[in-house]
């Protein structure tokens, strides 16, 4: 078990977790239509920063904000774990090293690149490394900024919705992309109160690289793992991936029903932030913790490569 001692979200909705939670509670969305953001790219609906951001400074801003929150410094016994899919112009390792160097931390960073599940997987990696006694604190950063590369790819898959996305709606048309940097700081040192990361699980569907399993096999196994010893009634909130593509949401519904969690309240945050890729698991975990305040929260994600992940957090 590891303990959350600070977090931050920097997104088009605001700077800091509080500003982002308030925006969500007020029903504000970062999504809008972009016509000429990237050369040659067809118009698309997304949640992007007004001024294009650079990857490393954006991450540093998010970490600084979370460190202020947690009252710890980036000490030698701290490991930095970066969750991203495309990093800084396709380079994932160099920006992670630049972030670590900025904070004067001596430990080589870990980058988790497990497609859309990366932000949840990075938290699972943090839990494992802290529980193994290798470090005292882990700074988990999720960040992706949108480029022509990503937008064109999702357009090629015809996965983008021309309108703000509608997760789990019968008339959903696809996903919207988004940009954000978010940070959660975990510590191995027991804390009085606050959120604890209790369980985590990663499973592959072993079915298809880009289409979710019809039986939701990987997602179902992740939910079963993180529910070990728990009853469905013990779960106060289930944070789904909810990309609003027809196949993803149908797969999640199947997995949720197979796990007996169909009566648990569900949150799907992509209509506010878009799909922030490497940041999604971190952003959506923070919003879940803040909106629930206390109780038990399960967060799930799925992604390309057939990978699924889930974590369970609790706050008494």
């Amino acid at each position: 078990m590891v303990y959350c001692i600070g977090h931050s979200i920097i997104s088009p909705l605001g700077e800091g977790s509080q500003a982002n939670v308030e925006a969500v509670q007020a029903g504000r969305s970062g999504l809008r239509l972009y016509h000429n953001r990237f050369a040659d790219v067809e118009p698309f609906c997304a949640s992007l920063f007004d001024t294009p951001q650079e990857f490393v400074p954006l991450c540093i801003c998010s970490v600084t904000c979370a460190l202020n929150d947690s009252q710890i410094a980036a000490l030698p016994e701290t490991i930095f774990i970066l969750s991203t899919t495309k990093g800084d112009n396709l380079d994932l390792l160099t920006p992670a090293q630049a972030i670590v160097q900025h904070f004067g931390n001596p430990n080589p960073p870990v980058v988790v690149s497990n497609a859309c599940t990366s932000g949840v997987c990075a938290q699972i990696t943090a839990k494992r490394l802290l529980e193994a006694g290798l470090y005292k604190h882990a700074i988990v950063i999720g960040c992706d900024i949108q480029t022509r590369f990503i937008v064109s790819g999702f357009q090629a898959f015809k996965a983008l919705s021309p309108e703000p996305c509608r997760p789990f709606s019968p008339d959903r048309q696809g996903l919207n992309l988004g940009e954000a940097a978010a940070t959660i700081i975990y510590t191995a040192e027991p804390q009085p109160g606050g959120w604890k990361l209790v369980a985590g699980s990663i499973h592959n569907d072993a079915n298809h690289l880009s289409a979710p399993s019809r039986t939701g096999e990987g997602a179902y196994r992740c939910l079963t793992d993180v529910m070990a010893g728990m009853q469905p009634a013990d779960i106060d909130l289930l944070g789904v991936h909810g990309t609003a593509t027809p196949y993803n949401d149908a797969m999640e519904r199947t997995a949720i029903e197979r796990a007996g969690l169909q009566d648990v309240p569900v949150s799907a945050l992509k209509p506010f932030f878009g799909h922030t890729m490497g940041a999604a698991g971190v952003v959506e975990t923070i919003i879940g913790m803040e909106i629930l305040k206390h109780g038990t929260f399960v967060k799930m994600l799925s992604g390309f490569g057939g990978v699924n992940a889930a974590i369970r957090l609790t706050c008494e």
């Binding site: 997987c121 990663i202 390309f304 990978v307």
Partner: protein
């Protein structure tokens, strides 16, 4: 934790459990040669990018070995490298050059390093954990593997940084 089998693939050599496999070709042609000699019945191989072909071939050769008194397949795939999916990323970018905007979904899906773990999982029916890390050194990966819960895993380094520039060193590891 015990290592049951290991394989090292460079652009001109293959060493399985310490024994060299003699190859005629080098570079990406060598991967095709290995596919034809040791697999042959999985045409999806030809859709894969080089990183996936490399991991796929390494997994084929490793998982055909007797699993030290235990015949069940591995339940986890944990891989790492320094350069993510950079070779295929650049190939993909080359298809969306200025004024020529026709992205290929078949190439785009391989612009993630964890796709190779998915290819291996699909081929061998592995429904346990698949994870891909971007790290500076294999020593970092060893620490992560030691902290990861699994019964048996296919784990190691799998990298393709440019055309005909790749390296893999994978092991099967058992925790019981």
């Amino acid at each position: 934790m015990r290592v049951t089998h290991d394989i090292e693939i460079t652009t001109s050599s293959v060493i399985l459990d310490g024994q060299p496999i003699v190859v005629q070709q080098t570079g990406e042609k060598m991967l095709v040669e290995l596919y034809r000699r040791f697999v042959g019945d999985y045409p999806k191989f030809f859709k894969m990018d080089t990183l996936s072909r490399l991991g796929f071939i390494a997994a084929e050769l490793l998982l055909k070995q007797p699993a030290a008194g235990n015949q069940q397949p591995v339940d986890a795939v944990i891989l790492a490298n320094r350069s993510a999916s950079i070779k295929n990323d650049r190939d993909y970018l080359a298809t969306i050059t200025e004024g020529n905007y026709y992205p290929s979904p078949a190439l785009f899906v391989y612009t993630l390093p964890n796709i190779v773990t998915g290819e291996i999982a699909i081929r061998h029916g592995i429904q346990g954990e698949t994870s891909f890390y971007i790290l500076d050194t294999p020593q970092q990966l060893n620490a992560i593997i030691a902290a990861t819960p699994f019964q048996s895993a296919l784990a190691g380094w799998c990298e393709c940084s440019a055309q005909d520039k790749f390296y893999a060193k994978l092991q099967t590891i058992w925790n019981n």
